[in-house]
Symmetry: D2
Subunit: 344 residues, 4 copies
């Protein structure tokens, strides 16, 4: 922490701040400058917040410096983490493409799409059994029946499953049926759910909240890791801004920012990120080009009949193009698509 | 819904859109214009999303018009709702001032602050037993022990209690111990929690999410009401923007916007809204001036020792000034502070 | 400036940073901490940006601390500035209400509205002769003819004039005809125009840019003052956010923030700030309640015929209510409406 | 325009709206729905804004539908525009890489960097002679002397020049000395400057404003084109959001959005977009991958001595890598770097 005093701060005001900091068991380092004094604060911060000195007379500003994340950081683990999702590696030199419908609607729908995903070279299958919907009157997902459909389709196509959990009850079931537990953007700071996910056996795909900073995203992963589950995969899915030509604004620069600070892998979801079918393919290419470990996209064979988010789902044929283009872009970075599982 | 066709759209493209809309059981109304044709869509929308036509050839844009909220709306109930929190009316002509610490830290701390709140004329007491904290390593609240302290203090001072629930387990306990269940900003779209709150017996104080639109806030209240709990109080607590001189940007214009659309009351929380002690009093005055039904503020007698959010807590003496100033502002609008409960 | 080193930074990396800082003529103060070292930097920064060390090996983060504004600051002038606009004081204990149409459309329109403003107790008249419009095909204002109409109306009603300048040419004319030169939000960082305004004889009303931080707003005023014109009045007019129930999001907390740092007065424009006629009156009350020195509102007697921004203009009768309510709110803060000029 | 009536709107209220619309010379098309009536409005809108009906009794909402841009649109010109900047084509199948220092500081500095740009395969040279700086006390550029240096360097290396104009005076000089006139983000809505640029002989590089919507950006280009200069190149340079890990948030999805609506080319500036040297290379790759026609980056051989924006400038060696990687990514899209000019 750095405390900046006002230009006219009196010596006794500076001393009062120093005394208060030291009473908290921290160390204060006054730095007299040409115009004003700044006070550096070091030591391990306890339960009390030293930021309170902002209200002391003569104090101009208090600037937070240190970060609370530890386990997510490269300072804790310098090398890239590679996380296995049902046998498919996420992170490292490979690239993964996760495809599937927004929501599981029926066995036939799910099977048809899964077949297309597999044929095109997608390595993981996504589909929601529990859907967090803005309106209580929208389709909320098939629940456990949806999970059963997903599990059945996995067996048929050797496609590990990523699916969302929205509360403790659904998380328990997802942990049991699926290969990766998705925590959605709206639950990124549902700390009870994060702690529960930290006790799950399966890896967690953690989506960035709609207005989450990089630091908050890292700390939400820290919640999961601090409970013992070290298999966390980040996912950028667009943030909310004034910009209105897409549903959200995809913030691709978070990919190299995460890579610099953390050892965990990161995917991008251009379907929710843009909300527009015609932007999914170009933004998928850009995601791989910027250094993401893969993309997560919505695919539907009859988007005009989809029960949710039809306008952003791409067709199976576009998905096949996407896999090829993404692989070609990966090649420029010396990476390539992770091979799909075979049905040995 | 309104579908806007491109200037050069061909008649058969327009027809294809019309046919698709009608196949969904809706009615299409083409409106030929000077430059382009628009197609109005009416009828009750079913499970399928007609927005899919955005991807049809010749379609320029699809504009959503109708809203999904019903019970929160003045179209459902034209008159203002007045909601009783432990005997104190929220909404109507009265103004409420809710004060208390960010977190319940001990019986002594809680009692000291409650006494000051009561003496100054505050009518409701707030204090967190469950704290959603960004970092897993920060103080997370005393849990049920905190609720017991709150209940004990309520008896001593006749101050009904507002406190936050963060998951199903804590909600059950809050419903039992407190007079009003707070759903925090981070959980505004935790739909499982909202549904559970819809089955609680106590009124719900629903805080606006950090990047929630007016419509999303209304729909979150609709989740609670659609489960049978009609006692919802909104709370504006600042939204996240680029603006960095306060922690969040308080969006006071949502107060008249809510009042126009909904019959439910709305409070403002300038403590979290600004994150700065010296902004709480002026923003409280502004909140009442714009038409809010009350304010919710953090008070601590020793903010430098607070376990959370000390820098934004005001002192009991400032709280006493706040009650008086807020009452004077209310007078200009023909309103006044609701009298506190007496210990009859 | 504060430089935060990585936890594992080696001594020679720290030394390299220190050496570089000192080569720039600045002083480096290493502060060894439990986990990592921070380096405070003091001294007057020259032309070169020391922020470059962010790219040095072992550096985690560089945090800017000092501010570049001087003349706008209370450190330069502790007391509130009171600025005379054609004889009407802005700042100090009084409150001003500035009213008028978005655009000057004709002598009759302007005269009718000015008469209503004067009768209701408004002290200053606003109206655009030069209109910065998003589209080149929208009405762009009457230009110098508009200024002549404004000057004529001023004589008839003793209402000093505030009107916008959009480039050097119009600024020269506005400086000649009007009593206060408005710099609009879109030109807040048109530095050439700011420098020109710094050489004008008349006070300047500087509107906050749509995405300007507090610091940027202060520095834009500094541009004007550094050229010799010390009569600057700030104006909050809403910032651009994701929030869509109003045209912009009025950030009222900037009022106490400005008051704390700067001696210059600040007004609020709730008409552009909300873009909704029905929000102007409540937001005007809130502006005065939070501590603003006045409000600037759009008034039109026939808003349905206005050539620009009709939907946000209030009627003369609402304006009369506004003056009364604003005066009553001011009373709570021990302030009152500045008396209007009389036609002695 | 679409007018949505309230559910309980009475027939005479609907009629009043219809009459008002028709009095304005427009045509009203009432569409009765299950719950409420909507009224479509067609016809060429004149000077008066029909949005005013928002304040009529019984009206719930007014939704704008039509756009004001014409010349920038693919409806006006379906094929991609290819714009020659000093003989280098921007747009079409080629990709351009524009490099150079933030500011021209001296002939030697400029020459050294230009040589590196040319050697690495960059086709255009950038460098500011007029710098819009947030603080009046920062280095403001060398002015005409800087333009002379740029012109001299162009002759030596056959590198056409892109440089910023900040007001009418500098625009006249830039038009004379340079090959492309840059309008910076802060001036995107300086409409007087846009009109002046519309009369210039050279192409214009128009940067997106910090909080500009797609529509506003298009309309700013429309300002230039409506004055007769059809050679406009867009440039995305990041928008301002709450996200704080980069200086701005680069909104890459605007590239396919622009391509869909407009025939004009678009570049991306990842240097200003991120403000971080280590993000420039990955974001350059992403820009080409998403479909941009080129990138604009800051290069400095001694960034630690740069007079402005040193922390975001890349080294000449990184620039050489960038050109190669960008070319490889372009290859995946069937595009390639436009060959540099030779000194024939």
């Amino acid at each position: 922490m750095l405390i900046v005093m006002e230009a006219g701060a009196r010596p006794e005001q500076i001393e009062a701040v120093v005394r208060h900091i030291e009473k908290m068991g921290l160390k204060a380092h006054p730095i007299p400058g040409a115009q004003r004094t700044a006070i550096g604060v070091t030591g391990r911060q306890g339960a009390k917040d030293p930021g309170i000195v902002e209200n002391f007379p003569g104090v101009k500003e208090v600037i937070q410096v240190s970060h609370s994340y530890k386990l997510v950081s490269r300072e804790a683990k310098p090398d890239d983490s590679v996380i296995s999702v049902g046998g498919v590696d996420v992170g490292g030199r490979g690239i993964v493409v996760v495809g599937g419908p927004c929501a599981v609607e029926s066995y036939d729908q799910t099977r048809t799409i899964a077949e297309a995903i597999k044929r095109a070279g997608g390595q993981l299958f996504r589909g929601g059994a529990y859907k967090p919907r803005t309106s209580p009157y929208s389709f909320q997902g098939l629940g456990e029946q949806g999970l059963e459909i997903l599990a059945r389709v996995r067996e048929e196509f050797d496609l590990p499953i990523v699916t969302e959990a929205i509360d403790e009850e659904s998380l328990n079931l997802v942990d049991q049926y699926a290969d990766c537990i998705q925590i959605g953007a709206r639950n990124m700071q549902n700390f009870s759910l994060l702690k529960r996910a930290g006790k799950a056996r399966k890896p967690v795909l953690l989506k960035r909240g709609m207005s989450a900073t990089l630091e908050e995203l890292l700390l939400s992963a820290e919640y999961i890791m601090s409970e013992g589950n070290y298999n966390v995969i980040f996912c950028e899915r667009g943030v909310r801004t004034f910009s209105d030509h897409t549903r959200n604004t995809v913030d691709l620069s978070i990919v190299p920012a995460i890579k610099r600070i953390s050892h965990l892998p990161i995917l991008v979801d251009p379907s929710h990120g843009t909300g527009k079918r015609n932007k999914v393919l170009p933004m998928s290419r850009a995601s791989i080009a910027v250094g993401a470990d893969g993309v997560l996209v919505e695919v539907h064979h009859k988007p005009e009949e989809a029960l949710s988010d039809g306008p952003q789902a791409i067709l199976p044929s576009t998905f096949a193009d996407l896999v090829q283009q993404v692989d070609a872009i990966a090649g420029v970075l010396g990476r390539s698509i992770v091979p799909t599982l075979s049905r040995a």
